[in-house]
Structure formats: structure tokens, C-alpha cells
């Protein structure tokens, strides 16, 4: 068994009286691709927000690479090696495609404003490195985000390309764990197939451990080592895709008991 990279121990999250996540235990091993599935409102995105520090859990602990990250500011957590994409795309729309990716190199670069104003040799070297890093991350997507697109504003991109750019931006933080929130949402079958291949490539070529939220079961089936099903903030099933897909609780969560009975 590989080492646990991320571990959630009895994590709970309540907004007022609403219990969104309830005593959740979850772990992602080094080098694994884990999918989180569940109906809308099951708490999947809340789970991501808890891991990345947008919310602090009301109970439980989150351990990443051996140390607790609970209560850390989001940028500190990113510095430790967790990066994410967003279900509702949150790109820096009025910045160029390349700048979007370059900006995410902030946490592992050093040049301060003074050195930037003086344009010291060290700063220029680092700037060149950031540029090359960004271009390398964008090149990962083949021709999609190449060439003249580098200098175009992010708002000019199509929906699918924005999703790709979000992934490129997240990888520019040099993460160990990549959290992908519905990477295939709004994509056509061709593009969905492409993103499925790509997520696998992110692991094999770049070596990221990946936790992904996805509604498209083709994608989930294609990529997952392990699937975790959530409903109402509780883990209702865990295991291989087949195990989870045939679990009575999962079928009930998606279709409801009434739906089964009427048939």
C-alpha cells in the first residue's frame, strides 16, 4: 500500500444549522487517482473548499504529507503542495493566457518588488524561468493553448479551453496533489475523451496525485483507481468503479427509493 498523501479524519462542516460534511474519513494515496461522485448538493465542492482552506472544518483534522493543514490560510496550503481548479471557472479573465499561468508560480519564486523595479540579473533569470515554466505547462495541452493564444486575454478562450487553462494554472504552483472540480463539465464527447486521456497523462507524465469531482461517469470509469460516493455530507460507498456503481446506496442516492419501487 502506498503512503497516504492526504487524509481527512472525522471532518465535519456546518453552516449555521446545516451539516454539509458529517464526520468524513477519506484518504488519497501518493500517485493515486481518486474520484468523488454524488448528486448535486452532496458536499463535494465543500470537501474541496475544506481541503484548500477556503473553509475551516468545524470538527476533525486534515493531514497533508504528514502534517496538519487545518486552519492554515489558503495560500499557505497551496505552498505545501495542493492546487485546485474550480467548478465555476475562476480565471483571471482580463490577463493574458500566459500571465494566468505565470501568476501561479508566485509561491515558489522569490523576487520582491524592489528587485523587480531594479530588474536585477537574478530577477530577470527567475522571470525567464517562470515564463518557460508557464509555456511548458501550456504545452501540455498540445496545440490547444499554444502560439498566439499565449498573449490573448483569458476571456477570449472557449469554455473548454478555459477548463484546460485552469488545469495549467493549477499545475504551475508545482503541486503534489491536484484537485480537479468537474474538469469535463460543459465539454462535448470529443473533448471529454481528450480530458480523460489528459488526466491520466497528468499522473503518468507529471506525477501528480489527483482527486477529482466528476459527474460524467465515462470519465470517472476511465480514470479512477478508487471512487468515493458522497450524499448529504456522508460517505455512502467507496471502492472500485464497479463496486460503487452497483452499490444499492449509490443507486438510491441518485434515483431515490421511490424511483426503484415504481419500476
Amino acid at each position: 500500500m502506498a503512503e497516504k498523501l492526504l487524509e481527512l479524519r472525522g471532518v465535519s462542516m456546518a453552516f449555521g444549522g446545516l451539516q454539509c460534511i458529517d464526520g468524513l474519513d477519506l484518504h488519497v494515496d501518493e500517485g493515486e487517482i481518486v474520484s468523488a461522485i454524488g448528486p448535486n448538493g452532496a458536499g463535494k465542492t465543500t470537501l474541496f473548499n475544506l481541503i484548500t482552506g477556503v473553509y475551516e472544518p468545524t470538527a476533525g483534522d486534515i493531514v497533508f504529507a504528514g502534517s496538519s493543514i487545518k486552519g492554515l490560510a489558503p495560500h499557505k496550503i497551496t505552498q505545501r503542495g495542493i492546487a485546485r481548479t474550480f467548478q465555476t471557472l475562476r480565471l483571471f479573465l482580463n490577463m493574458s493566457v500566459r500571465e494566468n499561468v505565470m501568476s501561479a508560480a508566485y509561491s515558489h519564486t522569490k523576487s520582491g518588488p524592489l528587485r523587480s523595479m531594479l530588474r536585477t540579473p537574478g530577477m530577470r533569470r527567475e522571470e525567464q524561468e517562470i515564463r518557460e515554466l508557464a509555456e511548458k505547462r501550456l504545452a501540455f495541452f498540445g496545440e490547444r493553448l499554444m502560439g498566439y493564444r499565449w498573449d490573448q486575454p483569458a476571456y477570449s478562450l472557449s469554455y473548454a479551453n478555459r477548463r484546460r487553462l485552469e488545469i495549467a494554472r493549477a499545475t504551475a504552483t508545482n503541486p503534489r496533489l491536484l484537485l480537479l472540480d468537474e474538469p469535463a463539465a460543459g465539454m462535448n464527447p470529443k473533448e471529454t475523451q481528450e480530458i480523460t486521456d489528459l488526466i491520466a497523462k497528468l499522473r503518468t507524465d507529471a506525477g501528480y496525485t489527483i482527486l477529482v469531482i466528476e459527474h460524467d461517469m465515462h470519465v470517472v470509469e476511465g480514470i479512477s483507481d478508487r471512487v468515493i460516493a458522497l450524499d448529504h455530507g456522508l460517505k455512502i460507498a467507496e471502492g472500485s468503479f464497479e463496486e460503487v456503481a452497483t452499490s444499492p446506496q449509490v443507486i438510491e442516492a441518485y434515483l431515490g427509493t421511490g424511483g426503484m419501487a415504481r419500476k
Binding site: 493515486e32 497551496t78 517562470i130 496545440e143 470529443k190
Partner: protein, 505 residues
Amino acid sequence: MSGFDGDDLTQPLEGAREAAAAEGPTSPEVGRDEWVARHDEHRAGRSGLLGIVEERLSRIPWWAWLTLFVAVFALMPVGVTDGYWRRVAFDTVLFMMLALGLNVVVGWGGLLDLGYIMFYGFGAYTYAILRSPEFGFHWPTLLVMAIALVGGALLGILVGLPSKRLSGDYLAIVTLFAYQIFISILIGGDNIFGSNVTGGVNGILKVDPLSFFGHVVPVSKEGGVFNVAYLYIALAFSTVLFIALRFIDRSRTGRAWRSMREDSLAAQLMGMPVPWLKLMAFSFGAAIAAFTGTLFVALNGSVFPGNFDLTLLITIYAMMILGGLGSQAGAVIGAILISVLLELLRDPSNSRYIFYLALVLGLVVVLRLSVRLAVVAGGVIALGIVVRLVVDQVDASWTGGAPDGTGWLGDLIARWVVEPSAVTLWLKSVTYISLIALALLLTTLRGWTRLIVLVPTIYLAAFVWENILAVEPAVTRYILLGGLLVVVMIVRPNGIVGEKRVEII
């Protein structure tokens, strides 16, 4: 790793291959990008002479534009020997620096700072206190400038502390309060625990001019004419500032500021320390404003709390927004336009051209070049001639006045607008209020009734302008500036050189 079979992944979804094949052999393959492949075709569409000019202009590097700009500005005093306009040029450079500094906070950082002028005042008072006979300090200029710069940066951090938690409207209110406290300290500063620090409302007088390494730079030459050396010193500092800011914009910090403006949560989740970046943006803007304040007071030789009123803050915001938020070139262009315009508007003969130009432009924007425009224009001219003839027949003293200022437009207007020899307060109030009432009425009307009401409204506007507003340029110039800003914002919503901005799709 369990249950992972890499080979399966290379298989496309059911139907994906067929769908791709159905599009025919000419369509791009899966994974290829149609737009990239055809990009050159799309670009070729923008041809013609204008296209070529645009293409060539876009290839000129920024430093070439900057060199050209500085050269033109530096050569300006050769052509303009008038001390007054040279002085205006100096003030314009200060405005440029203030707008560039505000652009860091608002344009890049996206933080609505309504206390910005406080830092300008802080720099001016720092210089005045450390270089005047008031307290007997006469510290070296460069040292005082450095103190103002660092002190301004620290004050910026102090005032910016709430920005760690606050954003948007809340931050605006907090900074406005901080500014009010600052002004109160300046006014009550002649008795802080019994000692005089700021001179209170009387300010600080007889401030030393700039002096570098023992060489005093006199404020004025023989006959009290503005010493053009001040213009060159300010221009040199502003050029250095422009380049430094340009460098920081294209750096890790500049990108982080702009990311924070676009989406502060996403920026933080991409590893950028947003609270610290906010403080840094505040501090940068403050330091620039404080530094500019030292130049201001060194030339003026005196400083009062009244120098730092809200009108100045609004003017600088207007400069930045007019030029294009977030653009350095925009801040410079906006500063020049508004600074020069405000000077021109001091004279009624000049402001008349701008008023009627804004009126005509506004009409063209609203009505377009159409029959309706011709009807309204013809109607207004005819109405004016008829009204003037009738009024002249009834009582000649009602048309006995003359328009203020000179110029061909003034002569033309004199034959058209009713100009009573004596404008009573009663007449002023009635016409001004009816103009506002008519303008409000216009917004509720549609179709031909609107055009019919528009005609007397415009004539009344001309009457009010000639008889009431043009007489008081101190107030009027800001009204006119506001009108002009509205027109520019309709024509170019992102400012003169501002890029198209998209918030949400």
C-alpha cells in the same frame, strides 16, 4: 496502484471516432485546434491602410513611446515661453505621478482607496516641517524626500491594515474616515498637547525650495516667472517612476496584484498571499503620493489643509478612469487632458467652445446623424432667432448684455441668445430650475414629444450657460468636466487607451 489499466485510456468514447470521421477529412483531427490552424486567415482579414497603420503602431515598443513623450514634454518650454503655461505643465507632471500611484492601488490592486490624497498631504507636510524656518529644520532635500517616501509607505501600511479584512465599499468608507481624521489633525495641529506641529489652518509658510548638494533651485526667476528647472526635475522623477512601475507590472508582484483584482479568492488559492499583497499595493500608492507631495510644496513654498480637498481626489480618479483604469499610459494621458482642460476652462471664451462642442457631441450620440438631428438643430436655431427678436421688441434692455469673453463663437452666440444687461437672482433661479425640470421631463418622454421638448431645453441650456454658468468658471469648469466625462464614457467605456474588460461570462 490498483485497478488502473493505462491501455483502456487510449480508447475514445463510443461514438467519438465516428463523430470526428463524419465531419469529413478537411476538418481538424481530434486534439488539433481549428482556430490555431486558421489563425493567419483571420488575421489577414484586417487589411487596408488602417490595418497596416495599426499593425505598425502596435510593433513600436513601449520605451520608444516613452522616449518620444519625454522628448516632446522636455522640448515644450522651447515653444511655450509663457511662465503660466510652464507652471501648468509642472502641475500636470505632478498629476501624472499622482494618477500613476493611484493606478497601483485601484487599477492594479482593485482596492477602492478614498483616502489617497491624505498621503499626498503627508508628503507635503513632511517636507514643509523638515525644510522651513517654522521649526528651524533645514534638512537636505534628498533626505527629506526619502523620509517622505518611506514614511508614506509606512502610513500606507497602517491605513491599509483594515484592507486585510475589508474590501469594496467597506474599504472605501474606512479610507475616507482615515482621510477625514488626517485633515482634522492638520487643522488642529497647531495645538497638539500644547505644541504647534502643522500650523493649523494657517498652514506652514516660507518653505525652502528644492536644493541639491548645496545648490538651491529658486522657485522663480527675475520678475516672479516660474523657474522651468522645476518642470525638468519633476519630469525626471516621473519618468523614473513610470519605468519602475512598468517593470513592477511585468513582474511576479505586478501579476499577483492584477490576479488579486480579477479574483482575490482564486489568487489566494493559487498561492498568492492576498492580505500582504493588498498592504503592499496600498503602501506603494501611498509612497508615490507622499513623494509627489514634496515636489508640490517645494514649488508652492507654503502648505495648508485646504490644499488636500476631496475635489482633488475626485479629479485624480477622473484622470485615471478617463485614461483607462489599470493602464499606465492611460493615467498619463488622462492627467494631461484633465489638467490642461481645467486650465482652459478658467477662461469663458475657451470654455464656450467646449460647452457647445459637448452639447453637439451629446446630441449626435443620442440622435445619431438622422433627420431628427436636423429637425432639432434647425428648431433650436430658429427658436433662438425668433425669441431674441420678440424679446428685443418688448424690452431692449433684455438684450442689451454681451457674452463674456471673445471669439467668433461668442459673436455668433450674441446674435442668438437673449442676454439681459442685468441678470437678477430671480431670473437666475427660475431659468436654472426650469432647465433642470425640463431635463428631467425629457428622460420620461419618448418619440416626437421628446424632440419637441428637446428644442426649448437646449435653448434654455444655452441661456443658462451664457448668463449664469460662464460667469462663474470656478464652479462651471467641474460641471463641464463632468459632462465631458459622461460623453467620453459613452463613446469609450474603458477609457481612452483602456483595454476591453470583461467581468463575467
